[in-house]
Symmetry: C2
Subunit: 485 residues, 2 copies
């Protein structure tokens, strides 16, 4: 049992799909292979040659955006452009620049106090992972046969199409053979991978489909071993639902907070939201009342330390981009981002959202970042993101305060964040007309609140007259005086 | 153009099939996998867990045997117990102890002035080799598609059985995808592997099926790059025939001298030899006259420096064990070994021959060395081997002298080795009865020759009476006085 690392609650994450973020021109291996041109439509599979040096080249950009932590999709050697099919857990993919490039990235990021969290794929490997390759070559006589779940011979790794794989693969896929995590050497192997990279300097693991390893003891041991190396390492599970069983302090520090995302989208984009077929997503309109209830339920079901270590994301490589789901409404997006920046849990920006990319789900959402074509950037949105992250960084109460709902109506909600020193009021109006919100005066601890958002807002809020006007589809934030109350 | 390394002519090689020579108990990985018990019949495929530390443990034994150089069958990561299906050229197989074990072996061997030559498999890789795995996963769109010779999609790496592989594989085998060595990055990769391990301290490469890379420029560049790192590195090609095109000084230092083996067996075991179906082998009886002619033809077709750098072997992992081929005749084996030890070119002992192993061809000849069962060792033969290598080491003329045939009859042959300082006469009688040999006196430069073989022989040879008696199926060696002639 241990609490999540302190730094997470203060972080603003940026998720990068490494093949598609930036190509540095510094990876010698690129000259030896045939890559797709940068900007090839992501509907075409293949590698476009993004690499870790490319990330280093853009750290200024990320720092200007207010980013303080990177979450990278898998970077270990893999034959898939998303690299969830690992073939070598100890080697950063040569196309990404190899192990040296990671060391360079860690050094460059850490010098800026920026953290780097990697994607840990511990449930399954690939057909090229050496023990599985061994099994493919030697069948059940292989020294590594116990590492997987085999069901008869000959194994059918690449077909024929009509017949199912005769080994366990994630989602039944032949390309993703699942580990037998009951086999002690497999556990030792995976724990060694996990601790090896922590020793190499990474700041934590985002854990891919950890629910598939349905074994609390595995994850408890995993946590203990990782935290023994670095108590400040962050462990974030890819759990799409409420995650009570994993968030008791003995397994993960937080999860990808998709339930919050779902509620949020239904509120801010109640009239523009696009459906998305996913077993755990709803994406249906919510009233402010419903939204406020769901938010409190999602946040407060966990101890406060865990609430603050959740990863609050709007989208990822697994979903449509947020602007797509919100039906293209930039106003809804701004409200969603402002919610991220004012609530407990670390906000995570999916690369390119900040310049207005709005593609649909996988594979569309894995497009090359258009460094080559700045004319398509939504620069106003980029400036907004920079201001919104700055707001969060400027006011500790937005990161550490407890959360309450002060009022909730059909289209308006007012939240409060509060610490011993400071109090913030955050109001949303998702209606398509100007609304007058009345904050319940008895709840207010201060006589007056200064406007801090939007940046150009001048109207304060007084307990003696707690009515404020909020334009359509917008949000506002007021802050109690900086002195102790 | 360069001459072969000086050390080769003085070396006695010992060929080791690493999975089957010795298991040290020092490889942690062995506790994580299921190995076959040591001594499992080699007809059963699978890994028995021989490792490089096991070789280190037996260096005393090898030194006592007179061995001064090791030739190891492949040791890089592979899912085949013979490891000719490489999946990682930069990693010594974890089952063998990994890269550290190789460093330890190199250190231990070099401290004893023992060289270590590795098996270089540069014509083909395996289905688990990362660029080929890439191609299997991504088809012709893979960044690595140009690294191989692909003929259509989808690729058929593991079947179906009725249909041929749709890519080039060695001998048409799906498991051994051939490199496209015309592709510059592939050449660079292979050259880098070659020089990397020379830099790591190995003493040369035995080159697997180099004739399949039908490209003199490739091998010239290969030689130049290797010799640039270490001019003393030995390059020995696996060529089963006469090898004129490769032995001009610009490609290999020597080849596996199978033609000599073939002639030798036909002579020493003319009445016991077993046939062996192989495209390049004859294994038919030879008279002494035929044998002598073939030996001179095989040896003297190359410049003397090359003659002395040939690898003179009696068998290998690819053939039946010598004692099998010789029909179980230990007498024939002794003559064959004595021939090896008295002729130009480095003798090579295939592990276990020296204790009388006599199994048939692959897979039988790849059995575990019976450290666990010394009762089956032919200890008399072992002592003979020790004496025979000592003979070679004691007399430089046997390593460096030029070779002549002094007489050849149906069942007897007398050779001479000669330097400016010394002269050796080597006589063979393969008949099954005592023979009187008469060395042609006019050819002799000395009045008297001292017996040096067999160790218990006391009868010398005088130019004035150059008749000697030689027991059935035996050999003898006389040496001119040590002082200058």
């Amino acid at each position: 049992m241990s609490t999540p690392p302190e730094w997470v609650q203060h972080a603003v994450f940026y998720q990068i799909f490494p093949d598609r973020f930036a190509r540095s021109g510094q990876v010698g291996v690129h000259d030896t292979v045939t890559l797709k041109p940068w900007g090839t439509p992501p509907e075409e599979q293949g590698f476009q040659g993004g690499d870790l040096y490319g990330i280093i080249q853009h750290l200024d950009y990320l720092q200007d955006l207010g980013v303080t932590a990177l979450y990278l999709n898998p970077i270990f050697a893999s034959a898939a452009n998303h690299r969830y099919h690992t073939y070598d857990y100890y080697t950063v993919d040569p196309l990404l620049g190899g192990n040296e490039a990671l060391q360079d990235l860690l050094g460059a990021a850490h010098r800026r106090d920026m953290r780097v969290v990697l994607d840990g794929v511990f449930n399954h490997a690939s057909r090229g992972f050496w023990p599985f390759h061994h099994v493919l070559e030697n069948g059940i006589d292989s020294p590594y046969a116990d590492w997987f779940h085999l069901h008869g011979e000959p194994l059918r790794p690449y077909g024929p199409e009509g017949e199912p794989a005769n080994y366990e693969g994630w989602a039944g896929l032949r390309g993703l053979p699942e580990f037998n995590t009951d086999h002690p050497p497999v556990r030792d192997f995976l724990f060694d991978v996990a601790t090896h990279w922590i020793e190499q300097g990474i700041d934590g693991w985002r854990l891919d489909v950890p629910g598939e390893i349905d074994d609390a003891d595995f994850w408890r041991t995993f946590r203990t071993k990782v935290k023994d190396v670095n108590p400040d390492a962050y462990l974030c599970g890819e759990i799409w639902t409420h995650a009570d069983r994993w968030l008791q302090g003995d397994q993960f520090d937080g999860v990808m907070n998709y339930p919050l995302t779902d509620s949020l989208f239904g509120f801010v984009a109640h009239d523009t939201i696009r459906g998305f077929a996913h077993q755990h997503f709803d994406f249906t309109p919510r009233t402010g009342t419903q939204f406020a209830e769901e938010v409190l339920d999602t946040l407060t079901r966990y101890p406060q330390a865990i609430q603050h270590a959740q990863l609050n994301l709007l989208d990822s490589h697994d979903t449509p981009r947020v602007l797509h789901t919100l039906g293209g409404s930039v106003e809804a997006l701004r409200m969603a981002v402002l919610f991220q920046m004012t609530m407990p849990g670390a906000p995570c920006i999916y690369y390119g959202d900040e310049i207005g990319l709005q593609s649909a789900g996988d594979p569309h959402c894995r497009e090359a970042f258009p460094w080559h074509n700045e004319s398509i950037w939504h620069t106003g949105l980029l400036a907004f993101y920079q201001q919104a992250t700055a707001l969060r960084h400027e006011h500790p109460v937005l990161r550490t305060g407890r959360v309450e709902v002060l009022s909730a109506t059909e289209r308006q909600v007012v939240f409060r964040r509060q610490t011993a020193e400071r109090e913030a009021l955050i109001a949303f109006n998702t209606a398509d007309n100007l609304a007058t919100l009345t904050v319940p005066a008895p709840a207010l601890n201060h006589a007056a609140y200064q406007p801090v958002w939007p940046p150009d807002r001048t109207a304060g809020l007084r307990a003696s007259d707690p009515s404020v006007q909020l334009p359509e589809r917008s949000a506002a934030v007021w802050m109690s005086p900086a002195s102790a109350s």
